[in-house]
Symmetry: none
């Protein structure tokens, strides 16, 4: 599988490139935003590993332009700072996953495998789980074919759970990704939100794992 690596730090680039090659990928590397944008827009890659701290065009901007042009390949973001706000920005911009530097090469490979698997399994920006269907391009959720009106937070919640369907997502993680911060648990806002989504999408969809978090089970083979 062919990958694009976008990384300006030569040392890191070389390391990652070696690891990816060893793992059997064909890797092409670029070092700045413009090149990245052009390559990503004109070539077909199985996945893209994108550093955010780039010279020239900013990594997020590159990603947004790809998505704006309808390019749907899986993108894994690397960022120096482990800031949650940045993570949310990245996901909103259309990233499929995110990894904070420094990272272990095994983890990079694992996450890469994961997003690639997800993308080949899906081939589009639509996720189906049981009765409901999510179209990320249109930000539209349908229940048995009927469109459901969701508020921004409700949408973010269900989108995150669906993207991570098949595993338990902790309240902490959900909060960080829905609200963009990990406030202390002084409020039950998230629980209320879950309740509202359940009311709109049916009670059976989001399961509660008492003490652990929430789960949408994966029903797509």
């Amino acid at each position: 599988m062919r990958l694009l690596l976008v990384e300006d730090d030569r040392r890191i680039a070389a390391d990652v490139e070696r690891a990816l090659s060893a793992a059997g990928y064909v890797v092409e590397t670029v070092r700045n935003g413009e090149d990245a944008w052009f390559r990503g827009d004109t070539e077909d890659y199985g996945a893209i590993v994108l550093d955010l701290g780039l010279p020239g065009m900013d990594g997020l901007a590159v990603l947004k332009r790809w998505r704006a042009n309808g390019r749907a390949m899986p993108v894994l973001i690397l960022t120096a700072r482990g800031s949650w706000a940045e993570r949310v920005d990245g996901i909103d911009a259309g990233a499929d996953d995110y990894l904070a530097k420094p990272f272990r090469m095994e983890e990079l490979l694992a996450r890469l495998r994961s997003i690639v698997r997800r993308s080949v399994g899906q081939a589009s920006s639509r996720i189906v789980a049981g009765d409901i269907e999510l179209d990320e391009r249109q930000m539209k959720v349908t229940l048995r074919g009927v469109p459901v009106a969701l508020s921004p937070l409700e949408y973010r919640l269900i989108a995150f759970l669906l993207r991570h369907r098949g595993r338990v997502v902790s309240q902490q993680e959900l909060e960080e990704n829905v609200y963009g911060h990990g406030e202390d648990h002084e409020s039950n806002a998230l629980e209320v939100l879950v309740g509202r989504v359940r009311k709109k999408l049916g009670a059976g969809l989001i399961e509660t794992r008492r003490g652990f978090g929430y789960l949408i089970s994966d029903t797509t083979p």
Copy 2:
């Protein structure tokens, strides 16, 4: 895919022809403006590579006459210098992309792929959505066949939304593309603009996705 190459320099023509053939295109070559115009006007090509520095009829003039006759194939312009004025002229004349000499063959191929992909994705410079129709070459919008007078900003707004129909466009993104800057949201100018366009084109066309942005749904698959 069948291509027309318009290039008077025999050496360059031969090089490009070889590269394009190797890439799997069927290439026809002409060396002057008159022939180019005739071929482009009477034959159907998947794309045209057009040198601007031609003997006889000038490349830009050829392009303009094609467009005036309603020919909509993607055209990639080659120009001797990376002159900005020439680029703007080319884009205005209806070119889809441009490339400054000297160039690397890979880049030519990539840009060609890009404009071809764009054109098959869109089939023409006309976009239809519901009752309304946009002709980008003529910068003309009609509602149920009746031309609608739009101001420059109104046109840019509707054109951007139509080009990206089928997905939600955020206010931020819309602002950047309509006004050319991403000012802080201290004004509701964009909302007012949307209102004005709605008044002219009907309220149902542009949907509001509260908290996310605007959307024109894609009704032409």
